[in-house]
């Protein structure tokens, strides 16, 4: 039993599972509505500057002075953390409705690079303007806090996966999360196009590119995913539940289907 690594009694392991958990589809729809509503609120109440970026262009870079936050309106973006000695780590993937730049608030400088992964648009908002607007329009503050809070939760779930799942399961979880993000935004989840190289995926998941490649090959061999005819960047997920079940099987290799 993995969880016994911590002395804390694990009688409460299923607490989180016990929390109200609406069905994924409905939750996706609710989340989708939240994203749409938030974007509308931002657009209506804030002085935003629209900015179009192409793949590889950066919204900001680590070390730059922090003045603005950005909301992703389309496309998707990676956050890369850099160490002084040149190590780099993808620490986040941001989709429509997600924010960029919170990490700069504390010390007035950005701590990460934010880079477009394909063509996309961000809405740029001066932080001081945001604060003024929030003062006049409190619900806006709720939107901002929720976005920060959600980002922390996502980062921690990501850390949990990295530290507790073997490579194959990590890749499966990654695909599942990606599909979930698409679902929340009202997009189809059976057909997903990764706009990241194996090296980027591997960096994000804490493994090497070859390991990602092998994991995907195994998932395909077991028919948990399929590659499209064209290239190997398009992945079909016949059944998300099967993908989730695979992750569970990696965690508890019992034959029994518990819960």
């Amino acid at each position: 039993m993995l969880a016994t690594a911590l002395p804390t009694p694990n009688a409460t392991a299923a607490r989180r599972a016990a929390a109200p958990m609406p069905c994924p589809v409905r939750n996706g729809q609710l989340t989708g509505q939240r994203i749409v509503d938030s974007l509308k609120l931002i657009h209506d109440k804030l002085p935003v500057t629209r900015r179009l970026l192409h793949a590889g262009e950066s919204v900001y870079e680590a070390g730059e002075r922090f003045d603005c936050l950005h909301v992703v309106n389309s496309g998707f973006f990676k956050l890369v953390n850099l160490s002084a000695d040149g190590r780099e780590q993808v620490v986040g993937l941001q989709f429509k409705g997600d924010w960029l730049g919170f990490d700069g608030i504390a010390d007035g400088r950005h701590g990460c690079d934010a880079t477009a992964m394909d063509t996309g648009e961000v809405w740029t908002i001066r932080y001081d303007a945001l604060l003024s607007a929030c003062a006049e329009h409190p619900p806006l503050m709720g939107v901002v806090h929720s976005a920060m809070s959600r980002e922390m939760t996502r980062d921690r779930d990501s850390l949990l996966s990295i530290c507790t799942l073997p490579a194959d399961a990590r890749v499966a979880e990654f695909l599942r999360n990606w599909a979930e993000s698409l679902s929340e935004r009202g997009l189809r989840t059976d057909q997903i196009t990764l706009r990241m190289t194996r090296a980027e995926i591997g960096n994000y998941l804490g493994m090497k590119l070859e390991t990602v490649s092998r994991a995907l090959s195994r998932l395909a061999r077991d028919s948990i995913i399929q590659f499209n005819e064209n290239g190997r960047r398009d992945i079909r997920i016949p059944d998300l539940a099967v993908l989730a079940a695979f992750v569970q099987r990696c965690v508890s290799p019992e034959g029994a289907t518990l819960q």
Copy 2:
């Protein structure tokens, strides 16, 4: 070269290092002042409820309804993220001046357990009361945002270490960060007492307890740290620079002392 795992050109690797980086001691003093000032502001402007906790007691648990945030006034606390299937992961260690509970804002429920590691006090603040107070007293909002932002930055630095450093260096970095936290709070850094078991440290760093034990033994053998006469929970760090140098040596095993 590790960094070539990502296609992004790495010409900018030292950007972060190039950012203004005051000497550690002075930075510690500045941070210490910030912590003191923040706590004073919170205490003056907010209706706080003081709450004393003993080792093992929880401030809140995952799944509980979110109503309040908490500021650590003394002691230290761990944040443990739980998955539905029982995996658990220490995702944060919070010291004096740090906040607890941000992760609950987004969906109204806490996503982690927050547990006291020794006797300590938190100041509990109703979230709605905090919002009202911030509306009347804007600097307070800055304090809250900074705290959230800093927590995100710290989590990402932690992820960077976990994904890019070998076990020994991770343990060394952990000790260095711990000492840095103490330094920022005006405490002595040559003598630190870990109030965590090897299993907890290992979980936090993404390795097993035996690996932590071996890493500490090796650091001690190389005189980078020393164990105290009493027990092996008290660790002396003769020279923080040597500890930092050890981490660098793990990353770039060249004999040359670059920069």
